[in-house]
């Protein structure tokens, strides 16, 4: 190993792939919307196959109050400050989408037993920045930015909250939201001076649940935005139309020189690819189109609902989840214009293809995923968002969510559900909970950006 002298993360994606195997995972679990009057919490899960507690939750950090709806999370520092020896990947920022509270969790002092370091009160964020509903967290060198999906009253488009490395509110990060209608995820590629942001909906629209009819009333997003990253303002918008309904997770290639990136359009169930052409102009195209599936008793066919996408650290494979159909797919995107399906597994979903896996009834479908740095182990959770879970998979209230692991063939392509790994969140001590995003202590395939 090299660079012990330096800051967090790795000098390059290639170096990240050679890192030691992950032994712990941090996964959020919620009680918000379940009827159990307990706080949401951060689980530490043992994924060391040599350990006697392999495939179990080994510690639980409760948030101070109820009703946060923990969802995504991000580190205080990543490979973007690898060159800064004064920085350390120690704190996980864990927002509550509904409460707007930001929980700063110390995972560095005792990685097996994270502790709450600080809470930035949602009410203070609303008062000082007129923002609410935090979602994606990325570090920017020594600063932290969080996409906030609404204003203080839950209206779109919200904006971006900037925190200092001491977790003080700096204010709004962006200089302008331009004509952006909605916010959601974002990713930046500094060598191209670009950030790309996507669109879910206003908190007041998506938080109560999904009214499909509101899509036609333009209450949900269908555009992606290319920002001048240094000027902190949007520069160009692509209207994706029917091909890009509800564009969610944004992923650039890990390779910091690449201009290629991808977004999963959840409701259209398409993968949209963009890149900078020889003339220096951004272009986009659709590279994957998942067909809707008819249901024998329902009037409207079921879309895949691509709730997440992820790229392997070597940028060779793209993974996606069809949360309503119940499959995870692996595509070889060595040629990013031509995605080739190389693997597929089923767990849960509304089509009834895999109601039970590893002895556990899967309620929900494959949803958030996190891939090991070497690309071989994909950890999968099944809950999307409490209100949407309650609409599509009401049995999750009593069954809880679960985490499974998929073994990925990085040489020839292909995926297989690991028969020995399952974490059943239906058996949690305070009752059935629901698991969502996962992070690895040393960084993972969606946490780090190279500058």
């Amino acid at each position: 190993m090299t660079n012990h002298c330096c800051g967090p993360g790795y000098a390059s994606p290639a170096e990240a792939m050679r890192a030691p195997r992950e032994k712990l995972l941090y996964t959020i679990a919620i009680y918000t919307g379940t009827g159990i009057q307990k706080p949401d919490y951060l689980c530490t899960i043992d994924v060391d196959p040599e350990s006697s507690t392999y495939s179990q939750v080994i510690s639980r950090l409760q948030m101070p109050g109820i009703g946060d709806e923990l969802h995504h999370s991000g580190w205080n520092a990543c490979s973007s400050c690898h060159g800064d020896a004064s920085m350390e990947r120690k704190y996980l920022i864990v927002p509550g989408v509904r409460s707007s509270n930001l929980h700063i969790v110390d995972c560095g002092t005792d990685p097996r037993n994270p502790t709450l370091f600080k809470v930035i009160d949602g009410a203070e964020i609303k008062t000082r920045t007129n923002l609410s509903a935090p979602h994606t967290v990325h570090c920017l060198g020594s600063e932290i930015i969080v996409s906030m999906l609404g204003d203080a009253q839950g209206n779109a488009p919200g904006g971006y909250l900037q925190l200092s490395k001491e977790f003080e509110i700096v204010g709004r990060w962006e200089n302008s939201m331009g004509s952006i209608k909605f916010g959601y995820d974002f990713w930046y590629q500094p060598r191209h001076n670009v950030m790309v942001s996507s669109e879910w909906a206003a908190p007041n629209t998506f938080m109560p649940g999904f009214d499909l009819e509101e899509v036609g009333h333009l209450k949900y997003g269908r555009e992606i935005h290319f920002w001048d990253f240094e000027k902190k303002e949007p520069k160009q918008t692509f209207y994706l139309g029917e091909d890009g309904l509800i564009p969610l997770e944004v992923r650039f290639h890990h390779n910091p020189d690449s201009s290629h990136g991808f977004v999963g359009a959840a409701l259209s169930a398409n993968i949209i690819h963009w890149w900078k052409d020889a003339a220096g102009d951004w272009q986009w195209e659709k590279i994957v189109d998942v067909d809707n599936e008819p249901h024998p008793e329902w009037p409207i066919p079921i879309p895949g609902v691509i709730s997440v996408i992820l790229l392997s650290m070597d940028d060779r494979y793209l993974y996606l989840c069809n949360w309503l159909h119940g499959d995870i797919r692996q595509y070889d995107i060595s040629d990013p214009h031509n995605a080739k399906l190389t693997g597929q597994v089923w767990m849960g979903g509304l089509l009834g293809r895999a109601p039970e896996v590893n002895g556990v009834r899967v309620t929900g479908g494959p949803q958030m995923i996190q891939l090991s740095l070497d690309g071989k182990r994909l950890y999968v959770t099944t809950s999307l968002f409490s209100t949407w879970d309650n609409q599509f998979y009401p049995e999750i209230r009593t069954n809880g969510g679960c985490m499974l692991m998929v073994n990925c063939d990085t040489e020839n392509g292909g995926m297989e559900i690991d028969p020995l790994f399952v974490v059943d969140f239906g058996k949690e001590p305070n009752g059935p909970s629901r698991c969502h995003e996962t992070r690895y202590p040393g960084g993972d395939c969606t946490s780090d950006i190279w500058v």
Partner: protein, 123 residues
């Protein structure tokens, strides 16, 4: 202060006197009722309750569509009482709150207030 009596039908008929100027969630929590909630600005539906009798002012809510309102749902974090009320609270009251939109679409008049087509306007 004008006060009203709020009766919780699914909590053994427990009754509480509340200030008509305060949101019901705040008044009930201050008196020790353990209720679910989330955003506290009327947008997220986590605190929804069902009104069995009585009247509330919930102009500030943005979470409910017209079908949910017609089924008696109110948003406790912003709803203020206008009379004595009887409520069912918590997820036990949510039997008609959630629906699968692919199985059970909304009619035009059942959408949220800002985009609904009023029934009488239809031919």
């Amino acid at each position: 202060m004008t006060s009203f009596t709020i009766t919780l039908a699914n909590q053994g008929g427990a009754a509480f006197d509340v200030d008509h100027r305060k949101p019901l969630l705040q008044s009930l929590r201050e008196q020790g009722v353990d209720l679910p909630y989330g955003c506290k600005y009327g947008g997220c539906i986590t605190c929804a309750a069902k009104i069995i009798s009585g009247k509330v002012d919930q102009k500030a809510q943005r979470a409910l569509n017209n079908r949910q309102i017609n089924n008696g749902y109110i948003i406790l974090c912003v709803a203020r009482p206008m009379s004595d009320c009887t409520l069912e609270v918590g997820v036990e009251s949510h039997d008609k709150l959630y629906r699968n939109p692919f199985l059970d679409p909304l009619a035009a008049h059942e959408l949220k207030a800002d985009i609904a087509t009023p029934l009488e306007a239809k031919k």
